[in-house]
Amino acid sequence: MADAILTATDLVKHYPIKGGVLRRTVGHVKAVDGVSFQLMRGETLGIVGESGCGKSTLGRLLMRLEEPTSGTLDFDGIDMYSKKGSEMRKLRRDIQIVFQDPYTSLNPRMTVGDIIGEPFDIHPDVVPKAGRRKAVQDLLDMVGLNPEHINRYPHQFSGGQRQRIGIARGIALNPKVLICDEPVSALDVSVQAQVVNLMEKLQDELGLSYVFIAHDLSVVRHISDRVGVMYLGRMAELGNEDEVYQHPTHPYTQALLSAVPVPDPTLRGKREQIVLTGDVPSPANPPSGCRFHTRCWKAQEKCKVDTPELIERPDGVGAHFSACHFAEPRLVIETVDVSDVEPDERFSSTEVVDPGALLERDGAATTAADDVVSDGTQQGEPVGEPDASREDVFREEVRGDAPDRRDI
């Protein structure tokens, strides 16, 4: 049986709203308003929900980048919010965060080596000073970047490469838990797949537990073991990946799933669309009772008055956590099991190495962030014997290294 590494109980974070000339507190944004869950050792817990529902705030609370208004957080038997000073600092080593935006979360004036090595300055006991450079290079290698690029600056990397730098920094202190706040949302799909595969590989190798926050329900389904659906600062539904996606019982989850487009035109018009009217209400003044009642097609009088608890409710197969008085399963998407389908290696690759990282960047041009490409290699003579297989040519030209360089 897996045991919990992180247990959040009734987490609350209210931000004061200041108003008037005296800047008095005139209200509160209830960004996170009573969230409880457990993160199991070695698992990925996905957190989904529309923008503004409190996902990032929750992520910051889990790392104590922010003090909670109330609630407790237990990390491996330790009450996180009661620790201070050096004790807290020590705990921080075990819980790290990777942010959404690779364009803004890295300091542009620091070299990649400094960025990834910075956690070692804060925790000097982890790696002795003499070993830092080597440690950083190992990290670069681990995330599929060229260790020789240690002295480069963030602008010399593409968006996907920068996200790898963020991940390398996140795992530098060998944490137990990694909070990932929209780690692939800013990336193009082809690059996103590389980073997702990298994260899965690192999890296997390092035994990490992930809290994976994203608004993209498809990415979250792919990477998560369990999933929590947030609405206006609260958890609407929580369960295993297949419980939430195949037997959702909360109307909000059902509506959310029905709105996600699926890249298959043959499903056009065949999928049920649950159209939600109106916008998400303001978290400064959330609706009474069930927060979803203003947009819910099942809402009754009870929903306006009584707050539905997040408890196990029957889902047709078993039971999982749902916060709806009228929870009942509804099939919103037909799931196809493709575990035995292997992608065709002639077109794409499941390897996590980023060949782009190994190419030399030309010139100092730094216009559009994604214009970072370099092509020194393809200008020379074709590499390899004329009869070399295409795969070999690909390896030599694009990766420019021995096939097994990245086997760790």
Partner: protein
Amino acid sequence: MSTISTRRGNRAEAAAAPSKYQPQDGLLLEVDDLFVEFHTDDGVAKAINGVSFDLRQGETLAILGESGSGKSVTAQAIMGILDMPPAKIPAGQVRYCGHDLLTMPEDERRKTRGPEISMIFQDALSSLNPVFPVGWQIAEMFRKHRGLNKSESLDRAVRLMERVQIPAAKERVKAYPHQFSGGMRQRIMIAMAIALDPAVLIADEPTTALDVTVQAQIMSLLEELQQEREMGLILITHDLGVVADVADKIAVMYAGRIVERADVYDIYARPGHPYTRGLLDSIPRLDQKGQTLSAIGGLPPNLTKIPAGCAFNPRCRMADHVCRTDLPPLREVEPGRESACHFAEEVLRG
């Protein structure tokens, strides 16, 4: 010579004189071997390198591609809103109902923006004027182009706001853009774009900044409007899911070229270009369990230094020597299907 349908024949709402532009056999727009480059300090960025496509009445063409592939520049070239310099159009034609927009005198072309071709952008907030009420901004379209007076034009603005499903339109006609949510602002942009009943609507990533529930609402609104007005719709997006839901045809762009073009059903069932195939393998799907994601390695090229041969060759696992020397033209590989890959037949065989 026949004209399939006269636009605006039976739409009293429009109250416009019949347009001097009438499509022949439903053909609205022909982009023909279009090139666009940007002259910058870093060199010449070849953003569009010989793009051709047609758009017909009532048709939805999706232009699909990753960031930097040239989707927005294509749209801006059609609309005539590129900043020149730094942009330059060394070659190509953009014909609207047979008239080349690129050589048309600017004052004539200006008159096509709005009544003939119109566009909505990803970021509604920066496209709307923050200091004027939204109703006033919509009404201005009618004052400027239709010569309606203040109360008539405001009246029309309210009706349009109702049409794009803005609740309490009458009361909110005087509200400012920042007083609306992202989804509502996008509806206001749509209202402005369709105000003059254009024949062609270009939507550049109209839902990219929005949550999925709002995206679903906006896409169904766009679909409805397109059908009711028989518009030709160019939907620009990087989202293969959105495309699958609404497009009739797809043009896949890579490094400023169309690398594949086909009917939406054909492309998803059996892609004809390694890039398209790689993209489809790299997206996680909501309806799949146990999926192995497989990525295209590397990055799109720097447009100041596009590789010789096929621009995709450094990332293509099928690439052979010919791919590094010869530019594969976009050619018909099956009836109704075009691909710009030397090995398209092999890719199609799967």
